[in-house]
Amino acid sequence: MLEQKKFIVSHAPFLHNGSSIAKRNYNIILAALPAVVFGLFQYGMPAVGVVSLSVSTAIIWELLINRITKSKISIADGNAALIGLLLGMLLPPVSPWWLVITGTFIAIIVGKQIFGGIGGNPFHPTLVALAMLMLSWKDFLDFDEHLVNYDFDFIAVYPLGALKHFGVAAIESFHAGGLLIGKQTGGTGATFGLGLIAGGIYLMARRIIRWEISISFLGGVLICALVFNLADATRFAGPSFHLFTGYTLVGAFFLATEDSSSPVNFIPMLLYGATGGILTVLIRNVGAYIDGVVFAILIINILNPLLDKIRPEALGRVA
């Protein structure tokens, strides 16, 4: 038994597999592009303005804070661009410019740099910004109010808003197939379900995000929504509706999986994701907010360090 080789470490030089933070971030941006491009075509130039301004100002805020704190210029790692892109994906496609710039300021400065930059943030920076915007300017995050001038070939009310305010009867015309191919209103990059799923599968296959978190998040949404639906189908929507509306898919693949704010061990990842999914549906069904994803993920971000205490037993023993 003592002869058994468990872990071999050899001397330098080592071979680097070529991965880098920049590559990871640009791959995540690449995975988000199908959903973003769909949103840009759906909503036109106003959405182009929001997404472009969001990415560019996120980079500029990061550059400014680098200069102010006289730290290494970190914009080349693509993290600021990714945070900006995610915020642009979640905001209504006709958001005013000042809302976008304020959002990227909060995300980069308050959500990330205050905690020491990349890897130090306890919450997803984009969600910190979005939560603050939601609480400060509720009406500007109302999709129904801001998309009144868009005329689509599908029902153009925000599905989760219709459910919250008018009950299950108001969402009878939404079907999973239509929702998946983007026949719904919402954030620029949050409505095209197939694109988000394709991006998620790509990231999971490349092992850039952990499947344990995404799948358990979606599982949590599915099971919790199913329980509510089975308990009273006249009051609570079914699981497919919850899975394919609002920020669920973007949350499962792009938000809950952020490196710094999510656990790394197997059981903690499952608990983290499932808790996020369950909280999402709880907030939607019995909470005050229309969509629960933002606060659900911020809450599991808080749980992250605690969950990661559940860790495998260390090899060897103290004599």
Binding site: A22, G44, M45, P46, V48, G49, V50, V51, S52, L53, S54, V55, S56, T57, I59, I60, L63, I73, I75, A76, G78, A81, V94, W97, D142, D144, E145, V148, N149, Y150, D151, A156, V157, G161, H165, F166
Partner: protein, 130 residues
């Protein structure tokens, strides 16, 4: 790619997207179409999302403009503003002119009752976001 090249690329991305973003906001400001598909009526009782298109389109209720909008001059065909900035101001105390709340309630509830189409009177929650 070297670190310098990567940095230059991100500078370029930021500048290009900033220009595209600024141009998109400046050159394509949000415009209200002549016939808005939907109108959000904001009020203290809870917003009402009015589906203008369903009321005017042939596939919907097929109403003509002057079935709901009306003007001072009977020969005038262009509808005037209804609420804020129009005749029925929200806080109007003019006894001869209905305020916005009464004008909209009379118009909406009256028509829905006449044609017996839901929402009817006292079904506030079917229009207002509570």
């Amino acid at each position: 790619m070297t670190a310098k090249k990567e940095l230059r690329r991100v500078y370029g991305l930021a500048i290009v997207l900033l220009v595209v973003g600024a141009l998109s906001y400046a050159a394509f400001p949000a415009k209200t179409p002549e016939q808005p598909p939907r109108i959000m009526l904001k009020n203290i009782a809870g917003k009402v999302l009015f589906d203008h298109k369903t009321h005017t389109s042939v596939q919907g209720y097929g109403l003509s403009c002057l079935d709901c909008h009306h003007t001072d001059d009977e020969d005038e065909t262009d509808p005037e503003l209804c609420g804020e900035g129009g005749c029925h101001e929200p806080k109007s105390e003019d006894e001869d002119m209905l305020n916005r709340r009464d004008a909209f309630h009379l118009q909406c509830i009256g028509c829905h009752q006449e044609f017996e189409v839901s929402p009817l009177e006292e079904q506030c929650e079917l229009c207002h976001v509570m």
